[in-house]
Amino acid sequence: MFHFSNIVRTKGDPKIVQGGPSLKQPADQLARALGWFSIGLGVVEFLAPRRVTETLGMEGHETLVRAFGVREILAGIMSLSVEKNAGLWARVGGDGLDAAALLSGLTPDNPKNGNIALALLMVGGIAMLDYRAAQDTKPRRPPRDARRKLYPNRSGFPKGIESVRTAARQIAAHAGQNEVKQGDERRVP
């Protein structure tokens, strides 16, 4: 089987013969797709806000669209990072803002109401995907109050901690270094 990565192997180093399973879940792929989508949309909103407002009949709101573009880009970068879950939740929040902004454009005299309705439909669909991906990529770090095994017996000193302290003190005394002062002694637990 052909493995692209084998091309860059230094001669003689092990090459992949057969790939093993990846632990990446479908939700990880979805998060990735949404991340790139977010960045793409953000770039358009940032660079061509006028196109967006014209399509929606919402001229005059270019600055808002630009700001939304920046938000999309940042949420996208986050969704592609190790903290993808936070990025996806940021996107869910952003979808809410998008919907609110679109709704505010739905006025009786807007000739592009049809486009707004379409955009709302899209935002709704994407929001569902965002929500789904955010649910499925929850960090698996145990919560702070989770029950944990503790390791109170793992000192690592087969002869016990006290013997280590005694040995260290003897060495120090031998080496003629400053002796452990009375005042410091009390801090030894």
Partner: protein
Amino acid sequence: MKALVWHGKEDIRCDTVTDPEIQDPRDAIIKVTSCAICGSDLHLFHNFIPGMLPGDIMGHETMGEVVEVGSGVDGKLQKGDRIVVPFTIICGECDQCKRGNFSVCETTNRKRHLADKVFGHTTAGLFGYTHLTGGYPGGQAEYLRVPYADATHIKVPAGIPDEQLLFLSDIFPTGWQAAVQCDIEPTDTVAIWGCGPVGQMAIRSALLLGANQVIAIDCLPERLSMAEAGGATTINFETESVLERLQELTDGKGPEKCIDCVGMESHVMASLPDTLLDRAKQMVMAESDRPHVLREMIYVCRPGGIISVAGVYSGLSDMLPMGAFMNKGLTMRTGQTHVNRWTDDLLRRIEDGEIDPSFVITHTVPLEQGPEMYQVFRDKRDSCVKVVLKP
């Protein structure tokens, strides 16, 4: 053979790959009997250190049995020898090796043009640790080619289990060097940030080197309990103020010696706003590291004290308080570990029963389960502290 192969961010797979071959007369090949996952591997798992390529084999804590030696190994190793492989590949002959500065060996990085560019000078070749340090295949595999094998090995006797010896490859000497760099005096308080495997070793090392008081800082109860078992007084930075507790424990003077066993991925928390800013900058590639621990150490360290950095930093760190660092007259010592400088002494201490580094192992699983264990170790699930893999 089977090996754990890096395919991208958070994507390590157990693939079947071709067996390693002798490429140079100074090579040897070992059959791996035990290997481990290190905190440094997590930086690669997260793709925070640039220079990994899909297809790279992970792993730099490895031991096993020599099954083949090149013609140039010169009797220093024989088939059947049992060796622990230091994570730093060393030639044993260059200026730096002669001084015992093994982790900055001038010979073994086969892609030194990259390191020369990025760091100004090359450092040693490392196993399974990016193309900046040679892109050498790592030891989370059934077999490992050991380059410069005549120098790059620690011979270990039969009769002591792998678990007690394996960590001579990295974390034990790393914790040890971190403590040695502190020039510990019998009256010293040594504060150690991070109670991962490296921090645990540093705690024990500081005690063995005669520290009066060792204080360990982390937020994970299981790791704090292990630190306490090793003789440390503990601080949970999620529930307590590190600054206040350190002041309290040192009569308001601050610890003389501070050790960083956390590195570039310091915990991000809303109550530590600098970590949020670092994380944001890291995401847009405006900063490579999150140096919260360095900042905190410089702030709390007693004037005239020493800061020893074992945690790995990869590139640029922002907002280090150089004013405090300079005016307090602090000394900072750093470095990847010069493994072989310490291992004769440490092996003797293990043989004498002075210390048994296997205390840190919480999970032992077959190599095939390695990919899952990366996640478990990263997420700190199941009270995981150290994972050993058995090929």
